[in-house]
C-alpha cells in the first residue's frame, strides 16, 4: 500500500464505498466458489473416465494390474450396488447402511476432534505460559505421536474398559473417540504453541506498557495472533481425527462405524466386489464433510484478517 496515495483522511468517499466493496468481494467469492465446484466435479468425472479407460485397456493388452470386474468393478456396478439390500432379504440397502455408518463415524470423529482441539489448545496455552512446561511437556507431546496406533488401540480399550465412574461406564466407543482425540490434539497443540509465541516484541511491549495481565495478554493478543497458525493446524487435526476414528474402529472392532463396515464388506469382495467401494465412498464422504466443516470454520475465524493468500 503506498503511503501518499491515500494518506489524506478527508476522502470520505473512501469510507462510503466500503460497503459496496464488501458486497463486490462477496460476489467475487461466490463466483470463485462456483468455478471451484465445477472444477471439482470435472475432477471426479475425470477419475471415472480414467477408471473405465484402464478397465477397457486391460481387456485389450495385458496390464500390470488386474482389471477384471472382480477387483475393478464398473462404475455403474458400484452405483447399482448401492441400491442392493445390505443382507439378503433386508429392507435396508447398502447405501442406507453406508450412510448410517458414515454418520456414526462422523459423530465419533467430531467428538474426538473437539476433545483433541480442547486438549491441544490447553496444552499450548500452558506451554506458552510456563517455559518449564514447554521444556517438560513438548518432548512427550512429540513422543506421543511416535507410538504406533495399532499398538496403542488395544491398550486404550483394555485400560478404558476398567474405568467406571459412578453411572458412567467406559465403552469401546469412548476408546475410539479417545484415539481420534489422541491423533487430533498433536497438530493443534504444536500449531497453537507457535501461534501463541508469534506476536512481535513490539506488540508484547505494547501490552506491557498498558499494564496488561498475563491473562489479558493471552486473550487480547496471543490468542488472536495465533489464528493464522491454528487454522491450518485445525485442518490437519480434523483429518487426523477422521483417520484415527476409522483406524480405531477397525482395530478395536467397534461396530456401527464406517471402519468396521469397510472390513465387513472387504470380506465379501469375492461375492460382491462393488460393495466395498460403496464403503470407500462413505469414508471419502466422511473426509469431505469434515474438511468442509473446517473450511467453514476457517472462513469464520479469519473473517477479520487481511486476505493475503487465496486458500
Amino acid at each position: 500500500m503506498t503511503d501518499t496515495a491515500i494518506a489524506d483522511p478527508h476522502t470520505s468517499a473512501d469510507g462510503a464505498s466500503v460497503g459496496a466493496a464488501r458486497s463486490r468481494t462477496f460476489a467475487r467469492r461466490a463466483r470463485n466458489g462456483g468455478i471451484s465446484l465445477l472444477w471439482a466435479l470435472a475432477g471426479v468425472g475425470l477419475v471415472i473416465v480414467m477408471w473405465e479407460l484402464v478397465k477397457a485397456l486391460g481387456n485389450v493388452i495385458p496390464l500390470p494390474l488386474n482389471t477384471s470386474d472382480m477387483t475393478m468393478p464398473h462404475v455403474w456396478t458400484m452405483f447399482a450396488a448401492m441400491g442392493e439390500p445390505e443382507v439378503r432379504g433386508s429392507e435396508n440397502t447398502v447405501l442406507d447402511a453406508v450412510i448410517a455408518a458414515t454418520f456414526r463415524s462422523l459423530l465419533l470423529a467430531f467428538g474426538g476432534f473437539l476433545i483433541g482441539v480442547a486438549v491441544g489448545l490447553l496444552l499450548a496455552v500452558i506451554m506458552q505460559r510456563f517455559l518449564f512446561a514447554e521444556r517438560g511437556l513438548l518432548p512427550f507431546v512429540i513422543a506421543s505421536q511416535t507410538v504406533p496406533l495399532i499398538a496403542l488401540a488395544p491398550l486404550i480399550v483394555g485400560i478404558g474398559n476398567q474405568i467406571e465412574i459412578g453411572p458412567i461406564k467406559w465403552t469401546t466407543t469412548y476408546s475410539v473417540m479417545f484415539i481420534a482425540a489422541y491423533l487430533a490434539f498433536f497438530p493443534l497443540s504444536v500449531g497453537a504453541l507457535r501461534g501463541l509465541q508469534a506476536p512481535t516484541p513490539t506488540s508484547l511491549e505494547l501490552m506491557r506498557s498498558y499494564a496488561a495481565t498475563p491473562n489479558q495478554t493471552v486473550r487480547k493478543l496471543r490468542f488472536p495472533s495465533s489464528i493464522p497458525y491454528i487454522v491450518p493446524a485445525l485442518k490437519v487435526s480434523a483429518a487426523a481425527s477422521v483417520v484415527g476414528t476409522v483406524v480405531a474402529e477397525i482395530s478395536t472392532g467397534v461396530r456401527g462405524g464406517i471402519g468396521r463396515l469397510l472390513i465387513e464388506y472387504a470380506r465379501q469382495i469375492t461375492s460382491q466386489p462393488a460393495k466395498v467401494y460403496v464403503a470407500v465412498f462413505g469414508a471419502i464422504a466422511l473426509g469431505l464433510v469434515v474438511a468442509a466443516l473446517v473450511t467453514a470454520l476457517d472462513v469464520y475465524l479469519t473473517r477479520n484478517l487481511p486476505k493475503e493468500k487465496s486458500a
Partner: protein, 273 residues
C-alpha cells in the same frame, strides 16, 4: 510526595544500564544519565545506533530496569507509572491489531482498564477525530496507509489520557512527506493536549522541529553528551523549517553529535559542509 518531583514529567538521576554485568560480553548501554523533563516539555533523544536512546526510553517506560540510579516518572517509580498508566507509548511499528477495527484498536488500553463499552467507544471516536481519522473508525488497520496507521497508534497512546507520551522513532518507517505532515500533526496534538513528550529519533531536523530541547547521546558507553536548546517558540509551522533559527539549531545538534560541544560558530560552518 513532594511537589518538587511531581512537576517533573521525567527525572533521571544517575541512571546506569549495564547488560551482562560482570561477564565478558558486558555492555554499558547507559552511563550515569541525568535528565529532567519538565511538565509539558517536548524532549528528543538523538544519537547514533547503540547510544542508548531507546534503552533510556525503555527504562522510563518500565520495559526494562535500570541497573543503578533513580528514575521518576511523574513523581512515581517507572513501575508505578506503568501500573497507573501515567504514560502512553508509540513505537516505530504502529503495532495495530489486524483483527480489530481502527476504533477498537484505540479502545484496547481502555478495555484493559475495564472501561465500559459505551464510554470507551465515545473516547476512541473523540481521539480518532483528533487525529483526523474519524471516517476510518470501522476500517481494518491493514486497509490504512503507514502514516494513517501511525496516527491510530498515537490516538491509542493517548486513550487513557496519560500525562506523558513516550515515542520510539514513531515516524521512522514513513516517507519524508508523510513524516513532515505527521510532525505537524504531533505538534498540533501536543498543543491541544499539553502532554509532556519524550521522543526518540535518528533525524536531526525532526528532533529540532519538534523539541524544546534535544538530548544528544553518544555510544560506547551510551551517555548524554550534550543538551541543545531549540529556541523556536511554541508556534511552529512549515515556515519554521526554512527559518535561520531552525538551521542554527540543526547545525548545533549536528556539531554536538560530532562531539564538538557548543556549536556557537555553527552558521559559518554550514557553508563548508
Amino acid at each position: 510526595m513532594s511537589t518538587a518531583t511531581t512537576e517533573h514529567a521525567v527525572h533521571a538521576d544517575g541512571i546506569w544500564k549495564i547488560f551482562n554485568e560482570g561477564q565478558s560480553n558486558e555492555v554499558t548501554a547507559l552511563q550515569d544519565v541525568h535528565l529532567t523533563v519538565e511538565s509539558g516539555e517536548f524532549i528528543s533523544l538523538i544519537g547514533p545506533s547503540g547510544c542508548g536512546k531507546s534503552t533510556l526510553l525503555r527504562v522510563i517506560a518500565d520495559l526494562t530496569d535500570a541497573t543503578r540510579g533513580d528514575m521518576r516518572v511523574a513523581g512515581h517509580t517507572p513501575h508505578e507509572a506503568r501500573e497507573q498508566q501515567l504514560y502512553g507509548m508509540a513505537f516505530q511499528q504502529a503495532a495495530l491489531f489486524d483483527w480489530r477495527t481502527v476504533r477498537r484498536n484505540v479502545e484496547l488500553p481502555l478495555e484493559l482498564q475495564g472501561w465500559d463499552k459505551a464510554k470507551r467507544k465515545a473516547r476512541a471516536l473523540e481521539l480518532l477525530d483528533m487525529v483526523q481519522l474519524a471516517d476510518f473508525a470501522e476500517h481494518r488497520p491493514w486497509e490504512l496507509s503507514g502514516g494513517m496507521q501511525q496516527r491510530v497508534a498515537i490516538a491509542r497512546s493517548l486513550a487513557v489520557d496519560p500525562t506523558i507520551l513516550l515515542m520510539d522513532e514513531p515516524f521512522g518507517a514513513l516517507d519524508e512527506m508523510t513524516r513532515e505532515r505527521m510532525q505537524n500533526e504531533l505538534l498540533r496534538i501536543r498543543k491541544e493536549t499539553g502532554k509532556s513528550i519524550v521522543f526518540v529519533t535518528h533525524s536531526i531536523p525532526e528532533a529540532v522541529y519538534l523539541s524544546d530541547r534535544v538530548v544528544v547521546m553518544s555510544p560506547r558507553p551510551g551517555r548524554i553528551t550534550d543538551i541543545v536548546d531549540v529556541p523556536l517558540g511554541d508556534d511552529r509551522d512549515e515556515d519554521t523549517r526554512e527559518a535561520d533559527a531552525f538551521f542554527d539549531a540543526v547545525t548545533a545538534v549536528r556539531e554536538a553529535l560530532r562531539g564538538r560541544v557548543g556549536g556557537s560558530d555553527a552558521r559559518a560552518k554550514v557553508g563548508e559542509v
